[in-house]
C-alpha cells in the first residue's frame, strides 16, 4: 500500500473541505511514539504503523481522511495556537496539581474539542476511526462520550454517569473552555490517577514541538500577560522546560543547560511593550570625500587625479591625486547607539523572582527596544557596588544573557561604583552609548551620582520607582540637563510612556517655545 500516494490524492479534497488551511503536504512515516499523527512546524506526519493497523478494519481512504481531518482540526479549531494551549494547561494544572495528569487532561480535552468541531462542521469519517481507540478506561470513556455527543454508536462501555456529566460541557464555546476544562479534569481525575503511567493519546500528543520558534515566542508573550503572576508562569514553563531547551531557549552549556523561567517571563512580557528609541544621526556620512592632495606616481590610479591642480598633465611629480577620507558631516542615515542599563537591585527594590518587578520589566523593555534596533546592551546590576554587590555584563547582543543578568537580585544597600560604571561605559563598541538608569533613587552616594550624570556624555534616561525626597532632589538637580529624561513608574501602565534617549523632543520644545516667543513679540 502506497500511503504517501494516497495522502497525495486525498489532500486536495481534505484541504477544500477545511477551506484551504495553509498547511504543507502531509507525509507518512514511521513515528517513534505510538501515536497516529504528529505535527511539526505545521507539517502533519501520519504514523505508518497506525495507518496499517487501522487498515485492517477500515478502508485506507477512510483512515487517511479521518486522520487528516483530525490534524487539520487541531490547526484550525483547537488549540489554534500555543498561547491557548498553555492557558488550558495552566487551568488543568491548577485543578489537578500534577503535570503529567494536567497534560493528559489537556490533551484529552483538546482532542474532544477538535474532533467535535470536525464532526459538526464537516462530513468526516472520524467517528469510524475513533471507535478503534479504546485501549484504556480513559480512552473508552472518551469514545463513549463521543458516541453520546455526536449521536453515533461507538460501541464503547464506560461509566454511564460519568459520560452523562462529561456530555454536559460546552466544548464548542471557546469562551468557556477554561471552566469546561476545569470540570472535565475534575470528572476525569479518578480515571487519570488510576491510569498510572499515562500513555500518549492515540491521536497524538500536543506540545511545544508542534509550533515554530516564532509561534512559541509569540505564545510566551501572550501567556506572560495572561498568567496571574510570575509563579504561575514559572510553574507552567517549568513543565515544558525540555521542549523549550530543544527550541533553543535556556542558558548554560551541556548538561547544565536549563531554562530560566523568570528571565523568560520578563523576556516574554517585554515583547508586549514596544518602547520607542530616538535614533541619532550617524556621525559620518558614510561616503569618502576628497580631502587633501598627494603627488601622483606612475603606479597610482588615474581616476582620482585632480585635473585642475595637475594643469591637465599626467606627469609624476606634477600631477596631483585626491586623497579621500570619510566625511565628518552628518548624513541622512540614523542609528541607535548601544545602551548601558544600570539597574538597582538593592533591598529596597522587589525581588524579580518572587513578584513582578517593574524595575526589571522596565529594564527588560529598554533592552528589548535597543536589541530590536541592532544595538548592543550592557548591564550593570548593582546593590552596594562598592562592596562587590554587582553583576556586570559587557556590551552584547545575547538576549538570554542580558535577561538573566537583569533578573539577578542582590538585596542589601545601594551605592554605585562610578569608576566601574564609567569603565564599562567606555567599552561600548561604537560611539557613545545611551545610559538607562532604573532605581528608586535611595542611593547612598546620591550626590556623586548626580554629579556623574551631569558630566557624562550621551543620552540618559532615568526611570525611578516611587516618589521620595531623593527623586525630588534628582528632579531638581537635572531640571536643566539637556540630555536627561526622567520617567516615573508606579504601575505597568506607566511603562509604555517611556521614550528612550529622548533629546530631540526637548530641542523641538525649545524651538517651539522660541518660535512662540518670537511670534508673541511680533518678530
Amino acid at each position: 500500500m502506497n500511503w504517501q500516494r494516497l495522502v497525495g490524492e486525498l489532500w486536495p479534497q481534505v484541504r477544500q473541505k477545511h477551506l484551504w488551511p495553509e498547511l504543507p503536504m502531509p507525509r507518512v512515516a514511521a513515528l517513534s511514539r505510538p501515536v497516529a499523527l504528529e505535527m511539526r512546524d505545521k507539517r502533519l506526519t501520519l504514523n505508518l504503523s497506525t495507518c496499517e493497523a487501522l487498515a485492517r478494519w477500515l478502508p485506507p481512504r477512510t483512515v487517511v481522511e479521518a486522520l487528516l481531518d483530525h490534524g487539520i482540526s487541531h490547526y484550525t479549531r483547537c488549540p489554534w495556537d500555543l498561547a491557548t494551549h498553555l492557558h488550558l494547561y495552566a487551568v488543568a494544572k491548577a485543578e489537578l496539581g500534577c503535570p503529567s495528569l494536567a497534560r493528559a487532561a489537556t490533551d484529552a480535552f483538546i482532542d474532544v474539542v477538535a474532533n467535535t468541531y470536525c464532526v459538526k462542521d464537516y462530513q468526516t469519517p472520524l467517528p469510524q476511526v475513533c471507535r478503534y481507540f479504546q485501549d484504556d478506561p480513559l480512552q473508552r470513556t472518551l469514545v463513549a462520550l463521543y458516541g453520546r455527543i455526536w449521536g453515533v454508536d461507538m460501541q464503547a462501555e464506560a461509566d454511564e454517569a460519568l459520560v452523562r456529566r462529561l456530555a454536559r460541557l460546552p466544548y464548542l464555546d471557546r469562551r468557556q473552555w477554561p471552566q469546561s476544562l476545569r470540570r472535565f479534569a475534575q470528572l476525569l481525575r479518578p480515571l487519570l490517577e488510576a491510569s498510572g503511567r499515562l500513555a500518549p493519546p492515540p491521536l497524538g500528543q500536543h506540545g511545544l514541538g508542534n509550533y515554530s520558534r516564532e509561534e512559541v515566542e509569540k505564545a510566551l508573550a501572550t501567556f506572560a500577560q495572561q498568567a496571574p503572576d510570575i509563579e504561575a508562569f514559572r510553574n507552567t514553563v517549568a513543565d515544558f522546560a525540555d521542549e523549550l531547551l530543544a527550541l533553543g531557549y535556556g542558558g548554560g552549556e551541556g548538561e547544565g543547560r536549563r531554562v530560566d523561567a523568570d528571565a523568560l517571563y520578563y523576556m516574554a512580557l517585554a515583547q508586549n511593550y514596544r518602547l520607542p528609541v530616538c535614533s541619532l544621526p550617524a556621525t559620518g556620512s558614510g561616503t569618502l570625500d576628497p580631502y587633501s592632495h598627494a603627488p601622483w606616481e606612475a603606479s597610482k590610479p588615474v581616476q582620482d587625479l585632480d585635473v585642475w591642480t595637475s594643469f591637465g598633465k599626467l606627469l609624476p611629480g606634477l600631477s596631483q591625486l585626491w586623497v579621500r577620507r570619510q566625511g565628518t558631516v552628518f548624513g541622512q542615515r540614523q542609528r541607535t547607539p548601544d545602551c548601558l542599563i544600570v539597574l538597582d537591585s538593592s533591598g529596597s527594590m522587589p525581588n524579580p523572582r518572587q513578584q513582578l518587578s517593574y524595575a526589571v520589566l522596565g529594564a527588560a523593555c529598554a533592552a528589548d527596544a535597543y536589541l530590536r534596533r541592532g544595538a548592543r546592551v550592557a548591564v550593570y546590576n548593582f546593590s552596594d557596588a562598592r562592596l562587590a554587590g554587582k553583576t556586570v555584563l559587557a556590551f552584547t547582543a545575547d538576549r538570554t544573557a542580558i535577561f538573566r543578568c537583569l533578573c539577578v537580585y542582590h538585596g542589601g544597600g545601594t551605592a554605585l561604583a562610578l569608576r566601574d560604571l564609567e569603565a564599562l561605559r567606555r567599552t561600548a563598541p561604537q560611539g557613545t552609548p545611551d545610559l538607562v538608569l532604573i532605581t528608586d533613587m535611595q542611593i547612598t552616594n546620591l550626590e556623586e551620582v548626580l554629579a556623574y550624570l551631569a558630566g557624562v556624555e550621551g543620552r540618559i534616561t532615568v526611570v525611578h520607582l516611587g516618589d521620595n525626597a531623593a527623586t525630588e532632589r534628582l528632579r531638581h538637580a537635572t531640571a536643566t540637563h539637556p540630555r536627561l529624561r526622567l520617567f516615573a513608574v508606579t504601575a505597568g501602565a506607566d511603562i509604555p510612556a517611556i521614550i528612550l534617549g529622548q533629546v530631540r523632543h526637548d530641542f523641538a520644545l525649545a524651538l517651539g517655545r522660541r518660535a512662540s516667543a518670537a511670534a508673541g513679540l511680533g518678530l
Binding site: 477544500q16 473541505k17 477551506l19 467535535t116 464532526v119 459538526k120 462542521d121 464537516y122 462530513q123 453520546r148 455527543i149 455526536w150 449521536g151 452523562r164 456529566r165 456530555a167 454536559r168 460546552p170 466544548y171 464548542l172 471552566q179 470540570r183 475534575q186
Partner: protein, 227 residues
C-alpha cells in the same frame, strides 16, 4: 464565465449534534434554577439581619421549596447549579445559609433519590447540606462538609466521606447521618431521633434528647452505664 466561488460548493453548513440538545436542556434547567435561587435571595434579602434560628430557617427553606416547585431538574443540573453558586461573584452568591438551604431544597426536590455531591470540586463550604432530607433519599457528600450537616434530618440518609463542621445532626428527627472522619462541636444538638455515626472523633457532643450517637464504633449517646 467561471464562478469564482464554485470551489465553495463543497461547503456544508454545520449539522446539529446531540450535544446541542443536551446543552440546550442543561441551560434551560439552569436558567430555571437560577431564577428560583434569585427568588429566594430576593425574599431573604428583605431581612435586615439574618439570624440562624428555627423560624428563619423554616421560612427560607419553605421559600426555596416554593421557588423550586414545578422545576424539572436532574442530579447533574443540581451539580451544575452548585458549581455556578460556587464560582459566582456578588452579594447573592456570598449568602452562605440561604445558598446551603437552597442546595438542600434541591436535594430534596430532585427526581433521583440517590444523590452524590463531590464537595472537593467546590471552594465554598455551604452549611445545612442534608437539611430535612426525607425518608427514602440518600445524600452522599464526597469531601469535607460545612456546619449544620443533616440538620432536621427527616428520615433520609446522609453519608459524608470527609469531616464535618459544628452542629452536625442539629435537631434531627429520624434517619442516619454517617460521617467517615470527624465532626466538630455540638454534634447532635437538640437531636430527637435517628442515628449519628462518626467514624473519627467528635469535637463535643451537643444536648441531644433522643436518638443514638456513635463515636468510632462506640455509643456515646445515650451514655451506656458500665456493666
Amino acid at each position: 464565465m467561471v464562478n469564482p466561488f464554485r470551489e465553495f460548493r463543497a461547503y456544508t453548513p454545520p449539522r446539529p449534534l446531540p450535544l446541542d440538545t443536551i446543552l440546550a436542556q442543561r441551560n434551560a434547567a439552569l436558567q430555571r434554577l437560577r431564577q428560583s435561587y434569585e427568588a429566594l435571595i430576593a425574599e431573604e434579602s428583605k431581612q435586615l439581619v439574618w439570624v440562624i434560628e428555627q423560624g428563619a430557617l423554616s421560612r427560607a427553606y419553605t421559600v426555596a421549596v416554593e421557588a423550586l416547585r414545578g422545576v424539572d431538574f436532574t442530579v447533574e443540573d443540581l451539580e451544575d447549579m452548585c458549581l455556578e453558586l460556587d464560582t459566582a461573584d456578588g452579594a447573592a452568591a456570598s449568602l452562605g445559609v440561604p445558598s446551603g438551604l437552597f442546595i438542600a431544597a434541591m436535594c430534596n426536590q430532585v427526581q433521583a433519590t440517590d444523590i452524590v455531591l463531590d464537595l472537593r470540586a467546590f471552594k465554598r463550604r455551604w452549611p445545612f447540606l442534608g437539611f430535612r432530607l426525607p425518608r427514602g433519599r440518600r445524600l452522599r457528600l464526597e469531601g469535607d462538609a460545612g456546619d449544620f450537616v443533616g440538620a432536621l434530618l427527616a428520615g433520609g440518609e446522609v453519608v459524608v466521606n470527609g469531616n464535618v463542621g459544628s452542629y452536625a445532626g442539629l435537631g434531627m428527627r429520624a434517619g442516619l447521618l454517617h460521617i467517615a472522619y470527624s465532626s466538630g462541636k455540638y454534634t447532635g444538638e437538640g437531636m430527637r431521633g435517628g442515628t449519628i455515626r462518626v467514624q473519627g472523633r467528635i469535637g463535643s457532643l451537643g444536648k441531644a434528647k433522643q436518638g443514638f450517637i456513635y463515636e468510632g464504633g462506640q455509643q456515646v449517646f445515650p451514655a451506656r452505664s458500665e456493666e
